[in-house]
């Protein structure tokens, strides 16, 4: 039996990688993937707790998160395409017109 702490460590590591990716990456697509990574880290933590505590609520949450993530990805990719059409680039740093 793998202890729950192992799952949680993996989840934390995944979440950290995702966060760092969001902070560092300039490519919008990579940025999106990192957001997905953070979501999945959270999913993993939920599943782990659900198994160890023998409560099914975590599973239900995970399905909810997956659905939302799918929708978010759809909207996000649409935005990426629009940005690319406007800027000929998917570099997030070039998309900074909402400033002073």
């Amino acid at each position: 039996m793998v202890p729950i702490s192992a799952y949680l460590i993996v989840a934390v590591v995944l979440f950290g990688i995702g966060t760092m990716g969001v902070l560092i990456s300039r490519n919008i697509i990579v940025l999106f993937m990192c957001v997905e990574l953070m979501l999945n880290a959270a999913n993993l933590a939920l599943i782990a707790f659900s198994r160890s505590l023998n409560i099914m609520d975590g599973h239900a949450f995970v399905f909810l998160v997956l659905t939302v993530a799918a929708a978010e990805a759809a909207v996000g990719l649409a935005m990426v395409i629009t940005i690319y059409n406007n800027r000929e680039s998917i570099n997030i740093d070039r998309f900074n017109i909402l400033k002073w």
Partner: protein, 644 residues
Amino acid sequence: MSDYLILIPLFPLIGFLLNGLLIGRLSRPVVSTIACASVFASFVTALLSFIELTNMPASARLIEQTLFAWIPVGELNIEFGLLVDPLSAIMILVVTGVGFLIHVYSTGYMSHDKGFGRYFAYLNLFTFSMLTLVLADNFLLMFVGWEGVGLCSYLLIGFWFERKSATDAGKKAFIVNRIGDFGFLIGMFIIFWQVQSLDFAEVMARAPHAFIAGGTLVTTACLLLFVGATGKSAQIPLFVWLPDAMEGPTPVSALIHAATMVTAGVYMIARTSTLFMMAPDALMVIAIIGAATAFFAATIGLAQNDIKRVLAYSTVSQLGYMFLACGVAAFSAGVFHLMTHAFFKALLFLGSGSVIHAMSDEQDMTKMGGLKKYLPITYWTFLLATLAISGIPFFSGFFSKDEILWKSYSSLYGHPIFWVIGVVTAGMTAFYMFRLVYMTFHGKERMDDKTRKKIHESPRSMTVPLMILAVLSVVGGYVGMPHIFGVTNYFEEWLSPVLAGHEPPTHALASTSGGGAGTEMLLMALSVLLVLIAIYTARLFYNKKPELATALRGKLTGVHKTLQNKYYIDEIYTAVVVHPLIIVSIGLWKVVDVIFIDGFINTLALLYDGISQLFRHAQTGRVRSYVTVFVIGVVGILGWLVMR
């Protein structure tokens, strides 16, 4: 059977709504039919109520109609109530009767004007407001009518709004009236404060308990009401608007600025006579102001050359007479003169309108003369009115004017000085009126040939009202013949139930028994003599030997100039009141408004602007920097939660 009172003001209101809402959609005959018919209908209704009154016993002559509770708030309960008693019966008959004649006259006078529909809409609105004023059974409703007639006066003075002088005159009338109305309002507040009611009947009934007779409060209230009256009725010091009001169409001058609206002040004082009888000091002020106005306006009238301005100053002067009568507590004499004056002054104005109409809108009398043969009907009716206003015996003006003169001498509140001023004014009145007649209708024809060719007698719609008014000017006085002719003064008797002190106490010297009648006869003879001399002088100066007038004018250049320029009153007011006001206003604008108010707001805005300049740089527009801040924030908060 009192439900029909509402019809009296309702007819003109309907006329106003029809004419006003359908301006430009109705043909001229339809417009004039609606306007005249509505006023005529209300005249007939007024006549019905008058007949109903006469059938009642003298002490119970009162018809009331309460339509609805208008303002029921706590102790204040004001009803929309109408009231016909002997006093308001006379007023509604004058307003609708003379008003109807003037409406008919207007159909002829205004027939070429492009604002035909608008004119009659205003005229009907005026009639409605005036009837509301006189029929109201409480102060507040009266004030509504009071403001309504002020508004209509403003609208009609500025009727030809393309002319700047007309709009200026309209504004002047409105503003000066507002000053008076302010006094009226405050007076009303004092009365409500003390009496807890604004209903005329209740105020008059409770006043003796609520006020101390002759006390400061009742005197102040009466004086404030009188301030309102000086505004509306053009007395010193607020008379300046009336002469300028002649910018309006002439029938308007006849209706509003001679026969009806300007007499509202007299009516109001007569209506609240109980209060005024409790304030002898206020009465004295009224008498003095009235006498002074009568005198000064008459002197100005002596030297004016504009036919309508002469009549305007004459109106101011005659209104002064009415206030003199009220001031010596001879209210019925004041109302009597109000009525006869409505007849002959309306006739004079309409006659002058007929002259102006014939002269292609020329108002300067020095360019007239010899019009008698061109305008026979106008001439003869005008002459009758002139005889009436001059106080030639057995014309209507004679009875009413003499009643006032006698009362100003004999009343306990009167004084021989009032009589002297009154008689001198009567002489001047006769002089300037006959001067006007001689300059206009007699002598050399001074107009140019182009105008002369166009002179024509006015159409039937204008001359018939003239003739009817002429008849009224002649016979109108017989209802109020003085006692010394051995007849009953029906007019005084008719009004006696509603007027306090209708027969003012006389001082010993003039008691009606014994020597009093002789004195009255003597005074009457004196005044008639003076009037005849004045007429003769006018004839001498302006008809027989004009060189005499020129010579006299040469000797009295200064006086003549002062009179012609109306004592420079307008200039003085401009310098003393208007100018400082403008300077203060400019100060308020440039200092208070621009520097303080705008300055405060602008400084505040600048402050926010500066702070924003500082913080706006946080908005880099870069997603990654936002995310960094976000993550640091989340980590910080979570860390704090865990470490706590």
